[in-house]
């Protein structure tokens, strides 16, 4: 089963051709059960939804803030609506989805905690991927350069960045505690998109992980790992 899954994902990834650098999407997709119902919050141009539909046969929906992104998705036949994670998640009923995914969007929300709580309410699981602000290169830029960091993944100057709520892996783990989320799985990726060793301690992830992906569930219902 595991082999087959990886095979499917590799195929789907290969189908995107060279330059498909969104390793995090493939990682996220690998956390999603085949044939499940998925809501992708901040789905962009629908790349993850398409990947999930092709490789995972999921019944996917998306919310996207940008009008261009939405229209592109709908024209591709994806079920996507124009909306805002900060305001529109409240409209969804409890347990409407198996997974609610927030991919590289958490840091752009106004109320990350409320968004995460809604995700855990709407979905049986939540999957969150985000850039780790605790990565050593970012720390170094502040420490030595004395300025807000800019990297390949986070290329914006502070005054025009849509990213208003950066966090580190350590910060996010704290948020999970506050929001009543149980961590079921976590992966940190180095700048080359390779997962860091699972056995590595959290401080190591926080220092060397450029981004992280967490699979969460609501605490009372969680069986833990």
């Amino acid at each position: 089963m595991l082999l087959r899954r990886n095979h499917d994902l590799t195929m789907a990834e290969a189908a995107r051709g060279p330059g498909g650098s969104r390793v995090d999407l493939v990682l996220v997709a690998a956390m999603v059960e085949r044939g499940s119902r998925v809501l992708d919050v901040g789905c962009g141009d629908g790349e993850l939804l398409r990947l999930l539909a092709e490789a995972r046969n999921v019944d996917g929906r998306g919310i996207e803030l940008s009008r261009e992104g939405v229209n592109e998705c709908v024209a591709k036949g994806l079920a996507v609506i124009q909306g805002d994670a900060d305001t529109d998640l409240a409209d969804y009923p409890d347990d409407a989805f198996d997974y609610v995914i927030l991919s590289q969007t958490l840091q752009a929300t106004r109320q990350p905690r409320a968004v995460l709580e809604h995700m855990l309410r709407i979905g049986r699981h939540a999957i969150v991927s985000f850039p780790n602000f605790g990565h050593w290169r970012i720390r170094l830029q502040i420490l030595l350069g004395g300025q807000m960091p800019q990297t390949d993944n986070l290329p914006y100057a502070w005054y025009e960045s849509p990213n208003i709520h950066f966090c580190t892996i350590k910060d996010f783990r704290q948020l999970c505690g506050v929001a009543g989320a149980k961590m079921k799985k976590a992966v940190a990726l180095n700048p080359w998109g390779k997962p860091l060793r699972l056995t590595a301690p959290w401080w190591f992830w926080n220092l060397f992980g450029e981004q992280a992906v967490f699979l969460l569930s609501r605490k009372p219902e969680s069986k833990g790992q």
């Binding site: 024209a75 036949g77 409209d91």
Partner: protein, 392 residues
């Protein structure tokens, strides 16, 4: 004398198109009355409709197109009265987003209309005269109920899609609420689930313009051989402004003069925009019945889908498996995006499969009828993906 002849011709042509239209007609006799929301039966009655393409063997590729207030069944063919192209030829036809080579497209004239489906200009069987104001007031739900009877007659159990803009979109959401099991996918465009106070107000102005025309004769103009053309033209002119936008009017006409360089210091149509509106008014009255205008605007005013479901719109779509694609336009102030968003919220509450796109345009409400590449791409993509799910 000349005017009298024109009016007589107008009368006979209008009644002829209402009774014997240039379309297929199905007649429902006394055994199959249309039960109206007003509490009366309409019987006998008939529905005029156009079809395009071929129904497949599984009868699974039928698309119902619902027309807007002043539209009719001639969605993708030359109009028999005006000689103009069909009103949605950008959208419907061979190779178009609603592809008549893949889908069997049906477009009926609504109940209360004047192009062959029974309406106020049809003959009242009780006295052999046009119904006029004796015609019962109809609702959007009545229109949809009649369309369902047409589909029963055609042997179409389930529609691949129902599509329409404006009043057509109202019928689409009513279809999805009344017959969810018969609607595989739905495309409500530039519409809402209820008419706003502002829209009712605009309609009332239009109706008053018609009724203020002495030629209207309390709705008996067809019997008395007159024609409230001026009133209907004014109604159309007013309504037409609401279909556009300030930006579109400015872009198209600005303050440009019509065939002159200076104002005439009179009340001639000095401005291009005046001339345009007068033209819109005058061409409209050639093809539309004044009483139909009253009845159809009333049907839109009465529309409030949530009211039938304890005021909770989400209940109208509870448990639906229909795939929705809701579309609005940024400059549409008649059915602003907030109206579409209300539909989307209601559908989300039931975690229905819904897409929603707001298209950036300055063309106002009428954008749904125009060559809008993004609209066409979205409809095509939505139907392609729904078609895959349907095995088409």
């Amino acid at each position: 004398m000349v005017e009298a002849q024109v009016l007589t011709r107008d009368f006979s042509e209008r009644v002829r198109e209402a009774e014997h239209p240039h379309s297929a007609v199905v007649r429902f006799d006394a055994d199959r009355p249309l039960r109206l929301d007003a509490g009366v039966d309409l019987s006998p009655f008939q529905i005029a409709y156009q079809t395009y393409g071929t129904l497949n063997a599984q009868r699974s590729n039928a698309v119902l197109i619902c027309h807007a207030l002043t539209g009719d069944q001639h969605v993708a063919n030359v109009h028999p009265v005006t000689g103009k192209p069909g009103w949605w030829e950008t959208m419907v036809g061979p190779g178009k987003p609603i592809d008549t080579e893949r889908y069997f497209v049906i477009c009926p004239n609504v109940v209360g209309g004047c192009m062959g489906t029974t309406g106020p200009s049809s003959i009242d069987p009780r006295n052999g005269c046009p119904w006029g104001l004796d015609f019962p007031v109809i609702t959007i739900r009545d229109m949809v109920r009649a369309q369902a009877m047409l589909l029963d007659h055609l042997g179409i159990e389930s529609l691949f899609s129902v599509a329409g803009g404006s009043m057509g979109g109202m019928q689409v959401v009513q279809w999805a609420a009344s017959y969810p099991e018969r609607v595989f996918s739905a495309l409500p465009i530039a519409t809402g689930t209820r008419h706003s106070a502002q829209n009712i107000a605009f309609h009332e102005v239009g109706r008053q313009a018609v009724m203020a025309d002495p030629e209207w004769r309390h709705g008996r103009y067809l019997v008395e051989g007159s024609s409230p053309q001026r009133g209907l033209a004014v109604a159309r002119m007013g309504a037409h402004i609401t279909y556009l936008s300030d930006a579109a009017l400015h872009r198209k006409f600005g303050r440009k003069f019509q065939d002159r360089n200076n104002p005439t210091f009179s009340f001639d149509a000095d401005f291009e925009v005046e001339s345009y509106l007068r033209y819109q008014g005058s061409t409209f009255v050639e093809r539309f019945d004044a009483n139909s205008y009253l009845y159809l605007t009333r049907a839109m005013d009465y529309f409030d889908l949530a009211a039938d479901y304890d005021g909770v719109l989400a209940k109208a779509f509870k448990g639906t498996t229909t795939r929705f694609c809701v579309i609005s336009f940024t400059s549409d102030w008649l059915f602003p995006t907030s109206e579409s968003r209300a539909i989307v919220h209601a559908l989300n509450a039931g975690s229905a499969r819904v897409s929603f796109a707001e298209i950036t345009t300055d063309k106002g409400h009428d954008a749904f009828l125009l060559e809008e590449p993004e609209l066409l791409a979205i409809v095509r993509g939505f139907l392609d993906s729904a078609g895959k799910a349907r095995g088409l």
